[in-house]
């Protein structure tokens, strides 16, 4: 009896020896479905108290960086995939590493950190990084000309692009129908990427594809620099359905089981993570809903690992809810500020 009790005790100690505690913060990309499933779908309370201690929620403004990797088209992949987390400046300051060393770094970002980019992007990123010092020394680029952009927006181009203002208005507000997106203040990098994707067909649009094809690379740089710099108001819109907005807010802030919330990438309240990720705050509900359907149906193919996957997890009601929520965010903020 004593012997077997000892044996059990020894067994228990051995078992304890291999018990480890895993300690984690919420993974930004929720790479582990188990973690995402455990996140409670509730908005954080502004104050938590217990045991004589009170913790208050804090607000902060993180510095924004609009810097991108230089080099034009060669930099497209690294700009799209890496700027979600990294500032270009930090990467450009790295030492001259070998191709093998960069390959290992880039694979680590995908495999260990669950960065949401496609495996077939890796060669282009590694090429760019291996060639970093050459890119830097040749970096005498033309600066975008927002004034020329404004001329194109108002008058179109000789090559046949119509004036952007016909649908998007001169100040980039489009109109309250929501058939066309609000462009004012959207990141130039994001807008230019969309124009190139319209031209190449990665984002299919009977309306925008021919227009984008008629714009030269310099035209694209100028037009997008213009729209990025416009500080436009928000149009007064019909009062939203409160229940729909509330449901949309839950989805936007907390997501759901095994699903990312929109703010995870699009920033608090959909304020955007420029230069790569567009703002949603104040974007027209009709446009948000339409574009989510474009992801679902495969007409937009320029974010296969993120937006396409996420859009396909949403049903029709959820799409209307997030769209209704984001449309009223900016007007809600403006009303609160008054």
């Amino acid at each position: 009896m004593a012997t077997s009790a000892n044996a059990i005790a020894r067994g228990a100690i051995v078992a304890m020896g291999v018990i480890l505690l895993a300690i984690a913060t919420q993974a930004r990309w929720a790479g582990q479905p188990a973690l995402a499933a455990e996140a409670p779908p509730v908005a954080p309370a502004p104050v938590v108290a217990g045991g004589g201690v009170t913790l208050h929620s804090v607000a902060t403004n993180f510095p924004r960086s609009d810097s991108t990797f230089p080099g034009g088209r060669e930099a497209d992949v690294i700009n799209n995939d890496c700027l979600i987390c990294h500032s270009a400046g930090m990467v450009l300051d790295q030492a001259n590493l070998s191709r093998a060393a960069w390959q290992a770094e880039v694979e680590k970002m995908r495999d260990a950190f669950k960065a949401p980019f496609a495996a077939e992007d890796i060669p282009a990123i590694v090429d760019y990084l291996t060639n970093l010092k050459n890119v830097m020394s040749q970096n005498a680029r033309r600066q975008p000309d927002a004034k020329h952009g404004a001329v194109i927006v108002a008058q179109g181009t000789a090559a046949g692009a119509p004036p952007c203002a016909q649908c998007h208005a001169f100040n980039g507000l489009s109109d309250a129908s929501g058939a066309f997106p609000r462009l004012a203040g959207q990141s130039a990098f994001y807008l230019a990427g969309q124009l190139r994707d319209f031209a190449s067909g990665v984002r299919a649009s009977a309306l925008m594809s021919p227009i984008a094809k008629a714009l030269s690379p310099d035209d694209i740089a100028d037009v997008t620099a213009y729209f990025a710099g416009v500080d436009a108001p928000f149009l007064p819109l019909k009062a939203p359905n409160a229940a729909l907005v509330k449901h949309g807010e839950e989805l936007a802030k907390a997501g759901g089981p095994e699903r990312l919330h929109c703010d995870n990438c699009h920033g608090p309240g959909g304020s955007g993570e420029p230069p790569v990720i567009p703002y949603l705050a104040g974007q027209y509900a009709h446009y948000i809903a339409f574009t989510l359907q474009m992801w679902q149906e495969g007409f937009r193919k320029n974010s296969p690992d993120a937006m396409e996957v996420i859009a396909k997890t949403l049903d029709d009601e959820e799409i209307l809810a997030v769209a209704a929520y984001y449309q009223q965010v900016s007007s809600a903020l403006e009303a609160a500020a008054k």
């Binding site: 018990i19 480890l20 505690l21 895993a22 300690i23 913060t25 919420q26 680590k108």
Partner: protein, 207 residues
């Protein structure tokens, strides 16, 4: 994400912190709660702690199995390019000491009594002693230490030297912790640069 052996996690020193100096944690320090693992590397001090999981098998996550590992050798040291050595997860901090009032650009007066000071920390133990050498490590003299604020607190060290008549003066400082571990005289090296704690030295100009 980092694993701790359960006995370590429950040793009375490891804690989940929600306040610092009587105030809630600043955002950059991990608000609202962070893990504190005294004497261990910061990769265990998880900020914005959101969940603690009990595992019944060794953790296989990237930062345990592949990243943040050191050679299982004295001072975690190998030769650059060396392969085939066993590795373990980086864990405990090592003793270190630094000069704070003199650098390689400092000029000191010939023959003068000159104060020299700095800070030291013991890593996973307290600071037991800090010594100074002015003769390339042949002899070491003890320095005075500031008040002991607790095992994991750094301490200021200070002493006075008499500057030789001319030339240069090389000083070295080394810390020994309460576990008897002393800083190595030769630079220790590994691919991640972890646990480097070679004795620091400064070369002063005598004028």
């Amino acid at each position: 994400m980092k694993p701790l052996a359960i006995d370590h996690a429950r040793d009375g020193e490891v804690m989940v912190a929600f306040q610092m100096n009587g105030e809630q944690l600043p955002l950059l320090n991990g608000f609202p709660v962070r893990l504190i693992v005294p004497g261990w590397y910061a990769d265990y001090w998880v900020k914005m702690l959101s969940n603690i999981e009990v595992l019944d098998a060794p953790d296989e996550n990237y930062f345990e199995k592949i990243g943040y590992r050191v050679p299982d050798t004295p001072h975690a040291s190998v030769k650059p390019g060396e392969t085939g050595f066993k590795t373990v997860p980086v864990s405990r901090l090592v003793p270190r000491s630094f000069f704070t009032n003199v650098t390689d650009t400092t000029t000191v007066k010939s023959g003068a009594a000159t104060p020299v000071r700095g800070i030291a920390f013991g890593g996973d133990g307290g600071v037991a002693q800090v010594e100074l050498s002015a003769d390339s490590g042949q002899s070491w003299q003890k320095t005075a230490l500031s008040r002991d604020e607790g095992t994991y607190s750094f301490r200021q060290w200070s002493t006075q030297i008499t500057v030789p008549p001319s030339g240069t003066l090389t000083l070295q400082v080394r810390c020994t912790n309460t576990k008897g571990e002393v800083q190595p005289a030769e630079p220790n090296w590994n691919g991640g640069g972890f646990m480097r704690n070679v004795i620091e030295r400064v070369q002063l100009t005598v004028a």
